[in-house]
C-alpha cells in the first residue's frame, strides 16, 4: 500500500460480516492502492497479486471467447471466500476490488450484495 490516505475509501467494505481483508489493486501493475485488514496473518501483497493474476487470466479468457469481461470472480477456499470485482470504467485503468471473507462467519449472498452496492456507489 503506497498511501495511507486512500484507506478510508474502504470503510464500508470493512463493515461486512466475516470481513478479513479488502483492497483496491491496479490491474495493470498489480500495485495495491488502498487496503483494510482485520487479520494480520494474511499477506496483503500475495493476496492482491493473486487477484490481479486471476483477473488477467479471466480477461484473456474473455478475449478468446469474445465475451464481455467479468462482473465478479469468486474463489472458494476451505476457510475463505475471495471476491474480486473490477470497479472502474472501460476508458480508465482497471482497478480491482478484492474482498476476503471468513467462510465460517459470512452470509455470502448478503456479502455479495453489499460488495456490489459498494462498487456501484464507489463508481458513481
Amino acid at each position: 500500500m503506497i498511501l495511507n490516505e486512500a484507506e478510508a475509501v474502504l470503510d464500508s467494505v470493512a463493515d461486512i460480516d466475516g470481513f478479513l481483508l479488502g483492497c483496491l489493486v491496479d490491474a495493470s501493475t498489480g500495485m495495491v492502492l488502498a487496503a483494510r485488514k482485520d487479520q494480520d496473518d494474511i499477506s496483503l501483497p500475495i493476496a492482491a497479486a493473486g487477484a490481479a493474476d486471476i483477473a488477467n487470466v479471466i480477461s484473456l479468457l474473455a478475449g478468446e471467447l469474445s465475451v464481455d469481461g467479468p462482473e465478479d470472480v469468486m474463489v472458494t477456499f476451505r476457510g475463505q471466500f475471495h471476491v474480486i470485482r473490477p470497479i472502474s470504467g472501460d476508458r480508465r485503468p482497471v482497478i480491482l476490488l478484492l474482498v476476503i471473507l471468513d467462510r465460517a462467519r459470512v452470509n455470502l449472498a448478503l456479502a455479495r450484495l453489499q460488495i456490489r452496492n459498494f462498487c456501484v456507489g464507489f463508481a458513481a
Binding site: 490516505e5 495493470s28 492502492l33 492482491a48
Partner: protein, 259 residues
Amino acid sequence: MSQTPRLRRARQLTASVLPTRAAGAYPTLVTERLRKAGATGSTGMLPFYGSAEGAIFFRNGRIIHAESERTPGPAIGAYQEYAGSLPPLDRIMAIRAVTEPIIDAVLELFTAQAHYARFRSSRLPDAGLASGIGVEALLAETERRQRLMKHLSVVLTPDTAIARNPHLRLESVRVSAWQWDLLIRVAPTATPRNLAWDLGRSVCGTTTDVYRLLALGLLSAAGEAPGRRRAMSFVRAASVKKGDTMPVISAGAAVEDAV
C-alpha cells in the same frame, strides 16, 4: 603533502557518494541511501545521473515526488486534482495518477543503475504528494516491479520493438477502450516506452498492458522466439524469499533465466 596518487585520492573522496562498479553492489548502496534519507527525516533532493538522469524528492523523510528523463511525469494538473475533494473512485484515480509516475521514475533510475550524487537539502519540486510515500513502501513496490519486469524481459522489455499482428480480424478483437487506445497507436517503430510517452501512462504499466496484448495475439514482439512466452505472474513477483535482493535486469540475465 599526501603521497596518494591524485586519482586514488579522488576515488576515496567520491566513494561515499558514488556506487562502486562491483557486481551486485548497486541495489544495496542505493537502498541504504534512501533508507538513510528516510531515517533522518531529510528534506531535499537526491539527484541521479549517468545511465539515467532524474531525482527523488523527500520531505521529512518521505518521498513526495520523483522524476526520470526516461519516463513520463504526471499529467498537467494531476497534483491539483489529487489535492481537491473528489468522489471515491475519482479520488483513487487521482492518487494513482500522482503515485504511478513516482514509482515508475524510481524503477527506471534503479533499473538503469543511475549514480546518485550528494543529497541537496532545501531543493523541493513545485508540486508533490501531501503525506508522501514511506521509503520502505517505495522500495518494496520497486523491488516487486523489478521482479515482474525481469520475468517479462524474456519476451518484452520497455524498449523492445513491437508490431500489430497483420492477420488480425477486427471482428474478433475484444479489448477494453483502455487497451484499444494503446493498440491503435502501435506504429512500425513502437516500443512500450514510446507508447507510454504517447499516452502519458507509466512505462511499467504500459509494458504489462502490451504483454497482455501479446498474449491475446494482437501484437508481436521483435525477436520473440517460439515457446519463450510465459504467463505473466504478479504472485511470483510478490513472493519474496529470505535473502532475495533487488533483481538486476539485463538482456543477458533474461536469456539465462529463460534457458
